[in-house]
Amino acid sequence: MLLQVERLDVYYGAVHALKGVTLCAEAGEIVTLIGANGAGKTTLLRTISGVIPSRSGRVTFEGRDITRLPAHDIVGLGISQAPEGRLVFANLTVEDNLELGAYRRKDRPGISKDREEVFRLFPRLRERRRQSAGTLSGGEQQMLAIGRALMSRPRLLLLDEPSLGLAPLLVREIFRTVREINQRGVTVLLVEQNAHMALSIAGRGYVLETGHVRLEDRAERLLQNDEVRRAYLGG
Protein backbone atom coordinates (compact mmCIF):
# COMPACT_ATOMS: atom_id res chain seq x y z
CA MET A 1 0.00 0.00 0.00
CA LEU A 2 1.44 3.38 -1.01
CA LEU A 3 -0.72 5.65 1.11
CA GLN A 4 -2.83 4.73 4.08
CA VAL A 5 -4.95 7.14 6.09
CA GLU A 6 -6.49 5.68 9.24
CA ARG A 7 -9.21 7.21 11.42
CA LEU A 8 -7.99 10.74 10.90
CA ASP A 9 -9.47 13.49 13.07
CA VAL A 10 -8.78 17.13 12.26
CA TYR A 11 -10.10 20.21 14.01
CA TYR A 12 -9.98 23.90 13.22
CA GLY A 13 -10.49 25.25 16.73
CA ALA A 14 -13.95 23.95 17.59
CA VAL A 15 -14.81 22.94 14.01
CA HIS A 16 -14.50 19.18 13.59
CA ALA A 17 -13.48 19.09 9.92
CA LEU A 18 -12.46 15.43 9.48
CA LYS A 19 -14.19 12.75 11.53
CA GLY A 20 -12.33 9.47 11.54
CA VAL A 21 -11.49 9.41 7.83
CA THR A 22 -9.96 6.18 6.52
CA LEU A 23 -8.70 5.93 2.96
CA CYS A 24 -5.94 4.30 0.97
CA ALA A 25 -4.20 4.37 -2.39
CA GLU A 26 -2.25 1.58 -4.08
CA ALA A 27 0.83 2.37 -6.14
CA GLY A 28 -0.18 3.25 -9.72
CA GLU A 29 -3.81 4.11 -8.98
CA ILE A 30 -5.85 7.22 -9.63
CA VAL A 31 -8.09 7.64 -6.61
CA THR A 32 -10.66 10.41 -6.58
CA LEU A 33 -12.29 12.13 -3.67
CA ILE A 34 -15.59 13.85 -4.35
CA GLY A 35 -17.85 15.78 -2.03
CA ALA A 36 -19.79 19.01 -1.60
CA ASN A 37 -18.28 22.34 -0.63
CA GLY A 38 -16.96 22.23 2.91
CA ALA A 39 -16.93 18.42 3.07
CA GLY A 40 -13.28 18.44 4.11
CA LYS A 41 -11.49 17.48 0.88
CA THR A 42 -8.89 20.23 1.00
CA THR A 43 -8.41 19.61 4.70
CA LEU A 44 -7.62 15.96 4.01
CA LEU A 45 -5.03 16.75 1.35
CA ARG A 46 -3.40 19.37 3.54
CA THR A 47 -3.24 16.97 6.45
CA ILE A 48 -1.58 14.32 4.30
CA SER A 49 1.00 16.82 3.06
CA GLY A 50 1.65 17.98 6.61
CA VAL A 51 0.47 21.58 6.33
CA ILE A 52 -2.32 21.01 8.88
CA PRO A 53 -1.80 18.90 12.03
CA SER A 54 -4.23 16.13 12.93
CA ARG A 55 -5.56 15.51 16.41
CA SER A 56 -5.64 11.75 16.15
CA GLY A 57 -5.30 9.03 13.55
CA ARG A 58 -2.41 8.01 11.35
CA VAL A 59 -1.01 8.65 7.89
CA THR A 60 1.48 6.14 6.50
CA PHE A 61 3.35 6.45 3.22
CA GLU A 62 5.23 3.42 1.87
CA GLY A 63 4.89 1.83 5.28
CA ARG A 64 6.37 4.81 7.10
CA ASP A 65 4.40 6.83 9.65
CA ILE A 66 4.40 10.44 8.45
CA THR A 67 1.63 11.78 10.68
CA ARG A 68 3.85 14.09 12.67
CA LEU A 69 6.43 15.00 10.02
CA PRO A 70 6.68 18.68 9.00
CA ALA A 71 5.51 19.50 5.48
CA HIS A 72 8.98 20.25 4.13
CA ASP A 73 10.17 16.75 5.07
CA ILE A 74 7.14 15.02 3.58
CA VAL A 75 7.92 16.50 0.15
CA GLY A 76 11.34 14.87 0.35
CA LEU A 77 9.70 11.47 0.79
CA GLY A 78 7.83 11.73 -2.51
CA ILE A 79 4.45 13.39 -1.91
CA SER A 80 3.63 16.66 -3.57
CA GLN A 81 0.56 18.78 -3.80
CA ALA A 82 -0.92 21.17 -6.35
CA PRO A 83 -2.96 23.33 -3.98
CA GLU A 84 -6.54 24.48 -4.48
CA GLY A 85 -7.00 27.83 -6.19
CA ARG A 86 -3.70 27.46 -8.07
CA LEU A 87 -1.51 29.03 -5.44
CA VAL A 88 1.33 29.92 -7.76
CA PHE A 89 3.94 32.48 -6.70
CA ALA A 90 2.49 35.45 -8.53
CA ASN A 91 5.56 37.67 -8.45
CA LEU A 92 7.98 35.02 -9.61
CA THR A 93 8.47 33.86 -13.19
CA VAL A 94 7.11 30.58 -14.54
CA GLU A 95 10.66 29.18 -14.48
CA ASP A 96 11.24 30.25 -10.90
CA ASN A 97 7.98 28.63 -9.86
CA LEU A 98 9.12 25.38 -11.43
CA GLU A 99 12.55 25.68 -9.79
CA LEU A 100 10.81 26.00 -6.45
CA GLY A 101 8.97 22.79 -7.13
CA ALA A 102 12.38 21.12 -7.31
CA TYR A 103 13.50 22.95 -4.21
CA ARG A 104 14.51 19.83 -2.28
CA ARG A 105 16.49 18.37 -5.17
CA LYS A 106 20.15 18.91 -5.92
CA ASP A 107 20.60 17.04 -9.22
CA ARG A 108 20.86 19.89 -11.74
CA PRO A 109 20.73 17.77 -14.92
CA GLY A 110 17.69 15.86 -13.64
CA ILE A 111 15.93 19.11 -12.78
CA SER A 112 16.48 20.55 -16.27
CA LYS A 113 15.26 17.33 -17.80
CA ASP A 114 12.08 17.39 -15.70
CA ARG A 115 11.50 21.02 -16.57
CA GLU A 116 11.63 20.10 -20.25
CA GLU A 117 9.17 17.33 -19.48
CA VAL A 118 6.75 19.80 -17.87
CA PHE A 119 7.09 22.07 -20.91
CA ARG A 120 6.29 19.09 -23.10
CA LEU A 121 3.16 18.32 -21.08
CA PHE A 122 2.14 21.99 -21.05
CA PRO A 123 3.62 23.72 -24.13
CA ARG A 124 1.99 27.02 -23.21
CA LEU A 125 4.19 27.26 -20.17
CA ARG A 126 7.30 27.13 -22.33
CA GLU A 127 6.18 30.16 -24.31
CA ARG A 128 5.62 32.04 -21.07
CA ARG A 129 8.62 30.83 -19.15
CA ARG A 130 9.94 34.31 -18.31
CA GLN A 131 6.57 35.83 -17.60
CA SER A 132 5.57 36.38 -13.96
CA ALA A 133 3.09 33.74 -12.86
CA GLY A 134 0.51 36.29 -11.70
CA THR A 135 -0.01 37.40 -15.31
CA LEU A 136 -0.94 33.92 -16.55
CA SER A 137 -4.57 33.05 -17.25
CA GLY A 138 -6.42 30.87 -14.76
CA GLY A 139 -5.94 27.74 -16.83
CA GLU A 140 -2.25 28.43 -17.33
CA GLN A 141 -1.82 28.97 -13.60
CA GLN A 142 -3.44 25.59 -13.01
CA MET A 143 -1.00 23.99 -15.46
CA LEU A 144 1.84 25.70 -13.64
CA ALA A 145 0.61 24.47 -10.26
CA ILE A 146 0.54 20.90 -11.55
CA GLY A 147 3.87 21.26 -13.32
CA ARG A 148 5.43 22.69 -10.19
CA ALA A 149 4.15 19.76 -8.15
CA LEU A 150 5.72 17.35 -10.66
CA MET A 151 9.14 18.97 -10.33
CA SER A 152 9.82 17.20 -7.05
CA ARG A 153 9.43 13.84 -8.84
CA PRO A 154 6.64 12.68 -6.56
CA ARG A 155 5.46 9.12 -6.29
CA LEU A 156 2.16 10.46 -4.97
CA LEU A 157 0.56 13.55 -6.48
CA LEU A 158 -2.23 15.32 -4.59
CA LEU A 159 -4.39 17.42 -6.90
CA ASP A 160 -6.95 19.78 -5.38
CA GLU A 161 -9.70 20.66 -7.88
CA PRO A 162 -7.53 21.09 -10.97
CA SER A 163 -10.59 21.81 -13.13
CA LEU A 164 -11.92 24.64 -10.97
CA GLY A 165 -13.09 27.52 -13.12
CA LEU A 166 -11.75 26.20 -16.42
CA ALA A 167 -13.51 26.07 -19.77
CA PRO A 168 -14.73 22.57 -20.77
CA LEU A 169 -12.09 22.13 -23.45
CA LEU A 170 -9.31 22.94 -21.02
CA VAL A 171 -10.82 20.66 -18.38
CA ARG A 172 -10.55 17.78 -20.81
CA GLU A 173 -6.95 18.73 -21.62
CA ILE A 174 -6.03 18.83 -17.92
CA PHE A 175 -7.64 15.46 -17.24
CA ARG A 176 -5.86 13.92 -20.21
CA THR A 177 -2.59 15.20 -18.79
CA VAL A 178 -3.40 13.81 -15.35
CA ARG A 179 -3.92 10.41 -16.89
CA GLU A 180 -0.65 10.72 -18.82
CA ILE A 181 1.20 11.60 -15.61
CA ASN A 182 -0.38 8.58 -13.93
CA GLN A 183 0.63 6.29 -16.77
CA ARG A 184 4.23 7.17 -16.08
CA GLY A 185 3.92 5.66 -12.64
CA VAL A 186 2.76 8.54 -10.46
CA THR A 187 -0.07 7.64 -8.11
CA VAL A 188 -2.72 10.36 -8.07
CA LEU A 189 -5.17 11.41 -5.35
CA LEU A 190 -7.59 13.66 -7.16
CA VAL A 191 -10.04 15.96 -5.38
CA GLU A 192 -12.81 17.15 -7.68
CA GLN A 193 -16.18 18.86 -7.88
CA ASN A 194 -16.43 17.70 -11.45
CA ALA A 195 -17.42 14.22 -10.32
CA HIS A 196 -18.21 12.90 -13.77
CA MET A 197 -14.80 13.66 -15.22
CA ALA A 198 -13.00 12.54 -12.07
CA LEU A 199 -14.82 9.20 -11.88
CA SER A 200 -14.22 8.58 -15.57
CA ILE A 201 -10.42 8.65 -15.21
CA ALA A 202 -10.14 7.22 -11.68
CA GLY A 203 -10.04 3.57 -10.70
CA ARG A 204 -11.63 4.04 -7.32
CA GLY A 205 -13.44 6.84 -5.57
CA TYR A 206 -14.49 8.07 -2.15
CA VAL A 207 -17.45 10.29 -1.37
CA LEU A 208 -16.80 12.63 1.53
CA GLU A 209 -19.71 14.18 3.39
CA THR A 210 -19.30 16.70 6.22
CA GLY A 211 -16.04 15.22 7.38
CA HIS A 212 -16.60 11.49 7.01
CA VAL A 213 -16.42 8.95 4.23
CA ARG A 214 -19.95 8.26 3.04
CA LEU A 215 -19.19 5.85 0.19
CA GLU A 216 -16.22 4.04 -1.20
CA ASP A 217 -16.22 1.95 -4.36
CA ARG A 218 -14.83 1.32 -7.80
CA ALA A 219 -15.28 4.40 -9.97
CA GLU A 220 -17.57 2.84 -12.56
CA ARG A 221 -19.88 1.61 -9.79
CA LEU A 222 -19.99 5.05 -8.16
CA LEU A 223 -20.96 6.43 -11.57
CA GLN A 224 -23.98 4.11 -11.50
CA ASN A 225 -24.83 4.70 -7.84
CA ASP A 226 -28.20 6.43 -7.45
CA GLU A 227 -27.16 8.47 -4.46
CA VAL A 228 -24.04 9.73 -6.22
CA ARG A 229 -25.96 10.43 -9.42
CA ARG A 230 -28.50 12.50 -7.55
CA ALA A 231 -26.05 14.45 -5.41
CA TYR A 232 -23.00 14.89 -7.63
CA LEU A 233 -23.81 14.05 -11.21
CA GLY A 234 -26.94 16.19 -11.59
CA GLY A 235 -29.55 13.52 -12.14
Binding site: S49, V51, P70, A71, V75, V88, L92, D96, L100
Partner: protein, 330 residues
Amino acid sequence: MIRRIIWTLGTLVILLGLNLALPRILNPYLFQIVILCGINVILAVSLNLINGFTGQFSIGHAGFMAIGAYGSAMLSLHAGIGWVAALTAAGVPPGVAEGAALFAALLAGGLLSALAGYLVGLPSLRLRGDYLAIVTLGFGEIIRVLILNIDAVGAARGLPGIPGWVSFFWVGLGGTGVVVLALNLARSSHGRALFAIRDDEIAAESLGVNTTAYKVLAFVIGAFFAGVAGGLFAHYLSYLNPNSFTFIKSIEVIAMVVLGGMGSVSGSVLAAILLTLLPEVLRPVKDYRMVIYSLMLIVLMITRPQGLLGSREIRLGSWVGKLRVARGAG
Protein backbone atom coordinates in the same frame (compact mmCIF):
# COMPACT_ATOMS: atom_id res chain seq x y z
CA MET B 1 37.09 33.42 -8.75
CA ILE B 2 39.75 35.74 -10.20
CA ARG B 3 37.02 38.14 -11.27
CA ARG B 4 35.70 38.16 -7.74
CA ILE B 5 39.14 39.03 -6.33
CA ILE B 6 39.51 41.83 -8.88
CA TRP B 7 36.07 43.17 -7.98
CA THR B 8 36.84 43.04 -4.26
CA LEU B 9 40.20 44.76 -4.67
CA GLY B 10 38.68 47.35 -6.99
CA THR B 11 35.94 48.14 -4.50
CA LEU B 12 38.46 48.47 -1.68
CA VAL B 13 40.63 50.83 -3.75
CA ILE B 14 37.61 52.98 -4.64
CA LEU B 15 36.50 53.09 -1.01
CA LEU B 16 39.99 54.04 0.17
CA GLY B 17 40.23 56.69 -2.53
CA LEU B 18 36.90 58.20 -1.53
CA ASN B 19 37.99 57.92 2.09
CA LEU B 20 40.90 60.23 1.35
CA ALA B 21 39.09 62.51 -1.06
CA LEU B 22 35.68 63.12 0.49
CA PRO B 23 36.76 64.87 3.74
CA ARG B 24 38.89 67.22 1.62
CA ILE B 25 36.24 68.01 -1.01
CA LEU B 26 33.22 68.27 1.27
CA ASN B 27 32.66 70.62 4.20
CA PRO B 28 31.93 68.87 7.52
CA TYR B 29 28.17 69.38 7.15
CA LEU B 30 28.01 67.72 3.74
CA PHE B 31 30.40 65.00 4.87
CA GLN B 32 28.14 64.15 7.79
CA ILE B 33 25.19 63.85 5.39
CA VAL B 34 27.16 61.42 3.24
CA ILE B 35 27.90 59.30 6.33
CA LEU B 36 24.25 59.35 7.40
CA CYS B 37 23.23 58.36 3.86
CA GLY B 38 25.52 55.35 4.13
CA ILE B 39 24.18 54.30 7.52
CA ASN B 40 20.60 54.65 6.30
CA VAL B 41 21.42 52.57 3.21
CA ILE B 42 22.58 49.76 5.51
CA LEU B 43 19.42 50.10 7.61
CA ALA B 44 17.08 50.14 4.62
CA VAL B 45 18.66 47.23 2.76
CA SER B 46 18.78 45.12 5.93
CA LEU B 47 15.11 45.84 6.70
CA ASN B 48 14.29 44.99 3.10
CA LEU B 49 15.59 41.47 3.77
CA ILE B 50 12.92 41.08 6.46
CA ASN B 51 10.00 43.11 5.11
CA GLY B 52 10.64 43.11 1.39
CA PHE B 53 12.16 39.68 0.72
CA THR B 54 10.12 37.49 3.07
CA GLY B 55 7.04 39.71 3.42
CA GLN B 56 7.16 39.83 7.21
CA PHE B 57 6.38 43.14 8.82
CA SER B 58 8.89 44.41 11.35
CA ILE B 59 8.64 47.87 12.89
CA GLY B 60 11.43 47.28 15.36
CA HIS B 61 14.48 48.11 13.30
CA ALA B 62 15.48 51.01 15.57
CA GLY B 63 15.67 48.48 18.41
CA PHE B 64 18.21 46.35 16.55
CA MET B 65 20.16 49.47 15.64
CA ALA B 66 20.17 50.53 19.31
CA ILE B 67 21.48 47.15 20.46
CA GLY B 68 24.32 47.32 17.95
CA ALA B 69 25.08 50.95 18.82
CA TYR B 70 25.18 50.49 22.58
CA GLY B 71 26.76 47.04 22.44
CA SER B 72 29.63 48.14 20.23
CA ALA B 73 30.09 51.39 22.14
CA MET B 74 30.35 49.58 25.48
CA LEU B 75 32.93 47.21 24.04
CA SER B 76 35.04 50.08 22.73
CA LEU B 77 34.76 52.09 25.94
CA HIS B 78 35.67 49.20 28.22
CA ALA B 79 38.10 47.26 26.07
CA GLY B 80 38.68 48.73 22.59
CA ILE B 81 40.37 51.92 23.77
CA GLY B 82 42.75 49.84 25.88
CA TRP B 83 43.55 47.54 22.95
CA VAL B 84 44.36 50.49 20.72
CA ALA B 85 46.69 51.95 23.38
CA ALA B 86 48.45 48.61 23.83
CA LEU B 87 48.80 48.00 20.09
CA THR B 88 50.18 51.48 19.36
CA ALA B 89 52.62 51.09 22.24
CA ALA B 90 53.77 47.87 20.58
CA GLY B 91 54.49 49.81 17.39
CA VAL B 92 51.33 49.13 15.37
CA PRO B 93 50.32 52.23 13.36
CA PRO B 94 47.38 53.99 15.13
CA GLY B 95 45.16 53.84 12.02
CA VAL B 96 45.51 50.06 11.84
CA ALA B 97 44.98 49.57 15.57
CA GLU B 98 41.85 51.73 15.55
CA GLY B 99 40.55 49.93 12.47
CA ALA B 100 40.96 46.56 14.16
CA ALA B 101 39.25 47.74 17.35
CA LEU B 102 36.40 49.26 15.36
CA PHE B 103 35.99 46.10 13.32
CA ALA B 104 35.74 44.06 16.52
CA ALA B 105 33.21 46.50 17.98
CA LEU B 106 31.04 46.49 14.85
CA LEU B 107 31.14 42.70 14.70
CA ALA B 108 30.21 42.40 18.37
CA GLY B 109 27.36 44.90 18.00
CA GLY B 110 26.12 43.08 14.91
CA LEU B 111 26.24 39.67 16.57
CA LEU B 112 24.48 40.91 19.70
CA SER B 113 21.77 42.38 17.53
CA ALA B 114 21.57 39.18 15.47
CA LEU B 115 20.98 37.24 18.68
CA ALA B 116 18.14 39.62 19.51
CA GLY B 117 16.86 39.11 15.96
CA TYR B 118 16.80 35.38 16.55
CA LEU B 119 14.78 35.81 19.73
CA VAL B 120 12.31 38.17 18.06
CA GLY B 121 12.25 36.00 14.95
CA LEU B 122 11.04 32.98 16.91
CA PRO B 123 7.56 34.35 17.62
CA SER B 124 7.35 35.27 13.96
CA LEU B 125 6.91 31.55 13.33
CA ARG B 126 3.49 31.77 14.87
CA LEU B 127 2.54 35.36 14.23
CA ARG B 128 1.99 37.05 10.95
CA GLY B 129 0.97 40.38 9.57
CA ASP B 130 -0.36 42.86 12.08
CA TYR B 131 0.50 40.72 15.11
CA LEU B 132 4.16 40.44 14.22
CA ALA B 133 4.22 44.18 13.60
CA ILE B 134 2.98 44.79 17.13
CA VAL B 135 5.50 42.38 18.66
CA THR B 136 8.40 44.07 16.89
CA LEU B 137 7.06 47.51 17.79
CA GLY B 138 6.94 46.40 21.43
CA PHE B 139 10.45 44.98 21.15
CA GLY B 140 11.86 48.28 19.87
CA GLU B 141 10.22 50.23 22.67
CA ILE B 142 11.36 47.76 25.34
CA ILE B 143 14.96 48.14 24.20
CA ARG B 144 14.69 51.93 24.37
CA VAL B 145 13.09 51.90 27.80
CA LEU B 146 15.71 49.44 29.05
CA ILE B 147 18.48 51.77 27.89
CA LEU B 148 16.71 54.70 29.54
CA ASN B 149 16.82 52.82 32.84
CA ILE B 150 20.27 51.24 32.82
CA ASP B 151 22.71 53.60 34.47
CA ALA B 152 25.80 51.79 33.17
CA VAL B 153 24.95 52.85 29.60
CA GLY B 154 24.19 56.43 30.59
CA ALA B 155 20.39 56.10 30.92
CA ALA B 156 18.62 59.31 29.87
CA ARG B 157 21.85 61.35 30.00
CA GLY B 158 23.21 59.46 27.01
CA LEU B 159 26.56 57.77 26.48
CA PRO B 160 29.47 60.16 25.71
CA GLY B 161 33.11 59.61 24.93
CA ILE B 162 32.80 56.85 22.33
CA PRO B 163 35.94 56.87 20.18
CA GLY B 164 35.23 58.44 16.79
CA TRP B 165 36.94 55.79 14.69
CA VAL B 166 34.46 55.75 11.83
CA SER B 167 35.63 57.18 8.55
CA PHE B 168 33.95 57.03 5.16
CA PHE B 169 35.77 53.78 4.41
CA TRP B 170 33.94 51.82 7.12
CA VAL B 171 30.51 53.13 6.23
CA GLY B 172 31.22 52.38 2.56
CA LEU B 173 32.42 48.90 3.44
CA GLY B 174 29.29 48.15 5.50
CA GLY B 175 27.02 49.51 2.78
CA THR B 176 28.76 47.60 -0.01
CA GLY B 177 28.76 44.47 2.14
CA VAL B 178 25.02 44.43 2.78
CA VAL B 179 24.17 45.38 -0.81
CA VAL B 180 26.36 42.64 -2.32
CA LEU B 181 24.98 40.11 0.13
CA ALA B 182 21.37 41.07 -0.59
CA LEU B 183 21.85 41.04 -4.38
CA ASN B 184 23.52 37.62 -4.29
CA LEU B 185 20.81 36.32 -2.00
CA ALA B 186 18.10 37.57 -4.36
CA ARG B 187 19.64 35.62 -7.24
CA SER B 188 20.24 32.40 -5.32
CA SER B 189 17.86 29.53 -4.68
CA HIS B 190 17.63 30.76 -1.09
CA GLY B 191 16.37 34.08 -2.40
CA ARG B 192 13.77 32.29 -4.48
CA ALA B 193 12.62 30.50 -1.36
CA LEU B 194 12.31 33.82 0.50
CA PHE B 195 10.26 35.37 -2.32
CA ALA B 196 8.08 32.27 -2.40
CA ILE B 197 7.33 32.69 1.30
CA ARG B 198 6.37 36.29 0.63
CA ASP B 199 3.99 35.29 -2.17
CA ASP B 200 2.37 32.32 -0.43
CA GLU B 201 3.68 30.80 2.73
CA ILE B 202 1.55 27.65 2.71
CA ALA B 203 2.39 26.85 -0.89
CA ALA B 204 6.09 27.39 -0.15
CA GLU B 205 5.95 25.10 2.87
CA SER B 206 4.14 22.41 0.93
CA LEU B 207 6.87 22.47 -1.73
CA GLY B 208 9.47 21.61 0.86
CA VAL B 209 10.71 25.08 1.81
CA ASN B 210 11.49 25.20 5.51
CA THR B 211 9.60 28.45 5.97
CA THR B 212 10.30 28.80 9.69
CA ALA B 213 14.05 28.52 9.22
CA TYR B 214 14.04 31.07 6.41
CA LYS B 215 11.88 33.58 8.26
CA VAL B 216 14.14 33.46 11.28
CA LEU B 217 17.22 33.62 9.05
CA ALA B 218 15.90 36.79 7.43
CA PHE B 219 15.41 38.31 10.86
CA VAL B 220 18.89 37.32 11.99
CA ILE B 221 20.70 38.71 8.92
CA GLY B 222 18.56 41.87 8.91
CA ALA B 223 19.22 42.44 12.61
CA PHE B 224 22.95 41.83 12.19
CA PHE B 225 23.33 44.63 9.66
CA ALA B 226 21.05 46.95 11.62
CA GLY B 227 23.43 46.34 14.54
CA VAL B 228 26.42 47.16 12.33
CA ALA B 229 24.68 50.36 11.24
CA GLY B 230 24.14 51.20 14.91
CA GLY B 231 27.82 50.58 15.64
CA LEU B 232 28.86 52.89 12.80
CA PHE B 233 26.44 55.51 14.06
CA ALA B 234 27.88 55.30 17.59
CA HIS B 235 31.50 55.49 16.50
CA TYR B 236 30.83 58.34 14.11
CA LEU B 237 28.92 60.65 16.47
CA SER B 238 30.93 59.62 19.58
CA TYR B 239 27.77 60.10 21.60
CA LEU B 240 24.59 58.07 21.95
CA ASN B 241 21.18 59.02 23.24
CA PRO B 242 18.13 56.74 23.55
CA ASN B 243 16.06 59.35 21.72
CA SER B 244 17.82 58.45 18.46
CA PHE B 245 16.12 55.05 18.59
CA THR B 246 12.41 55.78 18.98
CA PHE B 247 9.92 54.02 16.77
CA ILE B 248 9.94 57.11 14.56
CA LYS B 249 13.37 55.91 13.41
CA SER B 250 11.88 52.49 12.59
CA ILE B 251 9.11 54.15 10.60
CA GLU B 252 11.69 56.21 8.70
CA VAL B 253 13.46 53.03 7.62
CA ILE B 254 10.15 51.40 6.65
CA ALA B 255 9.39 54.47 4.51
CA MET B 256 12.71 53.94 2.71
CA VAL B 257 11.94 50.28 1.99
CA VAL B 258 8.38 50.94 0.83
CA LEU B 259 9.37 53.97 -1.24
CA GLY B 260 12.22 52.06 -2.90
CA GLY B 261 10.01 49.08 -3.65
CA MET B 262 9.58 45.96 -1.53
CA GLY B 263 12.25 43.45 -2.44
CA SER B 264 14.30 45.82 -4.61
CA VAL B 265 17.82 46.29 -3.23
CA SER B 266 18.73 49.16 -5.52
CA GLY B 267 15.36 50.73 -4.71
CA SER B 268 16.20 50.70 -1.01
CA VAL B 269 19.59 52.28 -1.67
CA LEU B 270 18.05 55.00 -3.81
CA ALA B 271 15.23 55.72 -1.37
CA ALA B 272 17.56 55.75 1.66
CA ILE B 273 19.72 58.39 0.01
CA LEU B 274 16.70 60.35 -1.19
CA LEU B 275 14.98 60.39 2.19
CA THR B 276 18.21 61.35 3.98
CA LEU B 277 18.82 64.25 1.61
CA LEU B 278 15.24 65.48 1.43
CA PRO B 279 14.96 66.96 4.95
CA GLU B 280 18.32 68.65 4.44
CA VAL B 281 17.33 70.12 1.09
CA LEU B 282 14.13 71.36 2.70
CA ARG B 283 15.95 73.14 5.52
CA PRO B 284 15.35 76.64 4.04
CA VAL B 285 11.56 76.28 4.44
CA LYS B 286 12.08 75.84 8.20
CA ASP B 287 8.81 75.17 10.03
CA TYR B 288 7.13 73.66 6.99
CA ARG B 289 9.94 71.21 6.42
CA MET B 290 8.28 68.13 7.85
CA VAL B 291 4.93 69.06 6.31
CA ILE B 292 6.45 69.22 2.85
CA TYR B 293 8.50 66.07 3.52
CA SER B 294 5.33 64.17 4.45
CA LEU B 295 3.38 65.58 1.52
CA MET B 296 6.10 64.52 -0.89
CA LEU B 297 5.99 61.01 0.56
CA ILE B 298 2.22 60.87 0.13
CA VAL B 299 2.39 62.09 -3.46
CA LEU B 300 5.14 59.61 -4.28
CA MET B 301 3.18 56.72 -2.85
CA ILE B 302 0.01 57.70 -4.69
CA THR B 303 1.79 58.01 -8.02
CA ARG B 304 3.99 54.94 -7.55
CA PRO B 305 2.31 52.62 -5.04
CA GLN B 306 4.71 49.80 -5.90
CA GLY B 307 7.66 52.01 -4.92
CA LEU B 308 10.25 53.70 -7.10
CA LEU B 309 11.55 50.49 -8.63
CA GLY B 310 8.78 48.00 -7.84
CA SER B 311 10.62 44.76 -7.22
CA ARG B 312 13.12 45.33 -10.04
CA GLU B 313 16.81 46.07 -9.80
CA ILE B 314 18.90 48.65 -11.61
CA ARG B 315 21.43 46.70 -13.65
CA LEU B 316 24.66 48.34 -14.68
CA GLY B 317 24.99 45.81 -17.47
CA SER B 318 21.70 46.79 -19.08
CA TRP B 319 22.64 50.48 -18.99
CA VAL B 320 25.91 49.81 -20.71
CA GLY B 321 23.96 47.77 -23.26
CA LYS B 322 21.54 50.61 -23.89
CA LEU B 323 24.34 53.12 -24.26
CA ARG B 324 25.95 50.91 -26.89
CA VAL B 325 22.70 50.54 -28.76
CA ALA B 326 22.14 54.30 -28.65
CA ARG B 327 25.63 54.96 -30.03
CA GLY B 328 25.24 52.34 -32.70
CA ALA B 329 22.00 53.95 -33.83
CA GLY B 330 23.49 57.48 -33.79
